[in-house]
């Protein structure tokens, strides 16, 4: 194979087997026990092999390939393992693309296997033929087409290694049908290293020392952290660091749950609908310490007015992230667990009392002007915030929160209390509506012992509503909360604020969601009165099995605070 790699000795002795059988044996060698997919002509031999391995590899049949890949994403994010997806050629493969792009931008490890027409038909516009290698190229970390069975074990061992190592991401392996049928001598060797690929840059201790010096000299340090802390399993090191030097720490959307929400140094969420204090004080800190985050435009607002007064330290595993959006004065490349372990002994104990008080003061402003009203309104329709507040009270912060995209996502992530890591599953970078329902299914199957709550808008719910069927069939006890405002709420909010209330194609006439759920054998309830909320959430949580709670919320409620597009983070609006 062209990709020069170091491999381990074979897991078992060589044996004569088909390509399709080899795919399953490779899964087992990689300790895969749950996969998501949808069969079709060009992947049938693999499905046939699957039939013989049902005891070892459970396959979840979703109702659409997009559902399969989002489920695999939910599973991967909540377990930290590689998510595996099977789909057929042509439309089966193209239906994966949104999920692949989502996993790429959110660094989710996936291995997607697609069937392909027989190799003699490649390039002939055969039935269900599409060049999925070219289509998926910009959205995969790596992809490869297998046309001979003997290439399968080496392609799959590289696929799993690439997907999970370094900055994780999606890999696609396209297998022609003849390669699935072909008999060959199978032996699986795990991949340990690839010549052309450096997943983790070597840690440079000089960079760590420079970073420590700058942190030690800082009067107003601010830590901004992202999903890198979770992907790098560095939650403990991260907590030790901020506690030792009393560093206020603000999370990106995907960084949430890396640090418990009630940690005294957790100063909130960054970005467009994040918290007031960390956004405003980003432009007042003297040292900005970025850990495992990539300065997304939704976090930074106008880059020309972003933390210009501050020295920037950037910890990341991906060299391409350094200086991409924000110039770093000191870049510490490497795995953040290792980098932080090296950094902690060099950092002085500090109190930063006055500086921390500034966060408290601004948080107080947000509390009075926004949060109080969001969580405890006394009149008008139910607010999204009070629903989340009620869920917090009743789950005590132990649930996994899965969200879709839009207003409900911002409200739910702002207000949910997280106690443990890997509890916040959402589509961050790509902003994929329809992500939530299948991702929640995948998450529940990944951690069946945990409560998994899917909070979805009425728009996104209907993008992958068919996955109610999969929830029904798998009996996965996902609790679904639809925050229904009969609008594509976030777009409507922008139309109100920036397009003179011209509500162009955002109002929705919705079906009876509870009746639909009932059709799928899922119990549910719809409420619109504040007095019913507490009991309804209680019923949902105590229900044995999956449940759908529809809450009618204010039609034209807005999410604040907000950093308007093109504005600076310190120009964040409270109303």
């Amino acid at each position: 194979m062209y990709l020069e790699a170091t491999l381990t000795p074979p897991v078992k002795e060589t044996m004569r087997t088909s390509g399709a059988d080899a795919v399953l044996r490779s899964f087992i060698a990689e300790e895969v026990d749950l996969i998501f997919g949808y069969p079709g002509g060009a992947i049938m031999p693999v499905y046939d092999a699957l039939y013989h391995y049902q005891e070892q590899v459970r396959h979840v049949l979703t109702r659409h390939e997009q559902g399969a890949i989002h489920a695999a994403q939910g599973y991967a994010r909540v377990t930290g393992k590689v998510g595996v997806v099977l789909a057929t050629s042509g439309p089966g493969a193209t239906n994966l693309i949104t999920g692949i792009a989502d996993a790429m931008i959110d660094s989710t490890p996936l291995v997607c296997i697609t069937g392909q027409v027989g190799s003699h038909l490649l390039g002939t516009d055969a039935f269900q033929e599409i060049d999925i290698i070219s289509i998926s190229m910009p959205a995969t970390k790596w992809n490869y087409q297998v046309t001979k069975a003997e290439q399968l074990p080496e392609a799959l061992s590289r696929a799993f290694y690439i997907a999970r190592s370094g900055r994780s991401g999606p890999v696609l392996i396209d297998i022609t049908k003849d390669a699935q049928f072909e008999m060959f001598d199978f032996a699986y060797r795990k991949c340990k290293q690839i010549r052309s690929y450096t997943p983790v840059p070597a840690l440079n201790l000089k960079q760590v020392e420079d970073a420590a010096d700058l942190i030690n000299s800082a009067k107003k340090p601010l830590v901004v952290f992202g999903q890198g802390v979770i992907l790098g399993n560095a939650e403990n090191e991260f907590k030790q660091l901020i506690e030792k030097a009393n560093l206020p720490a603000a999370s990106t959307l995907l960084g949430l749950s890396a640090l418990p929400s009630d940690h005294p140094l957790h100063v909130g969420m960054l970005g467009m609908h994040g918290n007031y204090a960390p956004n405003v004080l980003t432009n007042e800190c003297d040292v900005l310490i970025a850990i495992g985050m990539r300065f997304d435009d939704r976090v930074t607002g106008d880059l020309n007015r972003y933390a210009k007064q501050a020295k920037v330290i950037h910890f990341d595993i991906d060299p391409a992230e350094i200086n991409k959006n924000v110039q770093a004065d000191i870049a510490v490349l490497g795995d953040c667990k290792e980098s932080l372990q090296a950094l902690i002994p060099l950092v002085y104990e500090r109190s930063h009392q006055g500086w921390l008080k500034e966060f408290e003061a601004l948080t107080g402003v947000e509390q009075t002007k926004v949060i109080e009203h969001d969580l405890r309104p006394t009149s008008g329709p139910i607010s999204m915030g009070e629903v989340i507040h009620q869920v917090n009270l009743q789950t005590d912060g132990n649930a996994v929160l899965v969200t879709d995209v839009g207003q409900h996502q911002m409200v739910a992530t702002r207000y949910t209390h997280f106690k443990q890591s890997k509890s916040n599953i959402t589509s961050g970078g790509l902003g994929t509506m329809g992500f939530c329902l299948p991702a929640a299914l995948g998450a529940k199957l990944g951690v069946p012992e945990r409560e998994v709550i899917a909070v979805i808008g009425d728009g996104g719910f209907q993008m992958t509503i068919q996955e109610l069927g999969t929830i029904f069939q798998t009996k996965a006890a996902v609790k679904i909360i639809i925050l229904n405002n009969s609008f594509l709420g976030m777009v409507r909010q922008w139309q109100q604020l920036f397009f003179d209330k011209r509500y162009s194609s955002t109002e929705m006439e919705n079906p009876d969601f509870v009746a639909i759920a009932k059709g799928y054998g899922i119990d549910g309830k719809s409420i619109s009165e504040r007095d019913d909320l507490k009991t309804a959430v209680m019923e949902m949580l105590s229900h044995n099995g999956s449940y759908l709670l529809e809450v009618h919320v204010g039609k034209e409620d807005n999410v604040f605070p907000m950093v308007p597009t093109g504005a600076s983070v310190s120009e964040i609006r409270l109303e």
Binding site: Y2, L3, E4, I133, S134, M137, P138, K141, W142, N143, Q145, I162, I194, R195, S196, Y197, D318, P319, A320, I322, N323, K324
Partner: protein
Amino acid sequence: MKQAYTLSIFSENSVGLLNRITSILTRRHLNIDSINSSESESSGIYRFTIVVKTTEAQVKKLVLQLEKQVEVMKAVYHTDSDTVFQEIALYKISTRSISEGNLVEKLIRDNNARILSVESDFMIIEKTGHKEETQELLDFLSPYGVLEFVRSGRVSVTKPMGELEGI
């Protein structure tokens, strides 16, 4: 300020890698001025030479994005003054129109060009050099009728010693 940068990308030889590389440029709306690929001095390692016009800030990011690809071992960029580079051009001209007087001798001497092939009705002239030089010869020949013209992508080696070691 935008200027020409030569990207040198060292990689495994894989189906579709060119696609992966060009999509990194396409995504940033960058046009490729010239492109060439060949096996490098190390057996099995391929070298892409791509010329793009862009800013230094952009080209720095490009190199990191290119190097991030699993099959890419190393990517570097250089300005024209940091490299020695050449392109090759072939010109097909009617033998009759050019064989009058001492025109052929003049063009060969003045342009450091050479004749690759002479047929009864046409001849093929080859010239290597920078783009401006091959262009100059094209302009000179145009009045005599150029039947075909083709110019290769740039090939380039770097001037600093040792810079590309360890690939």
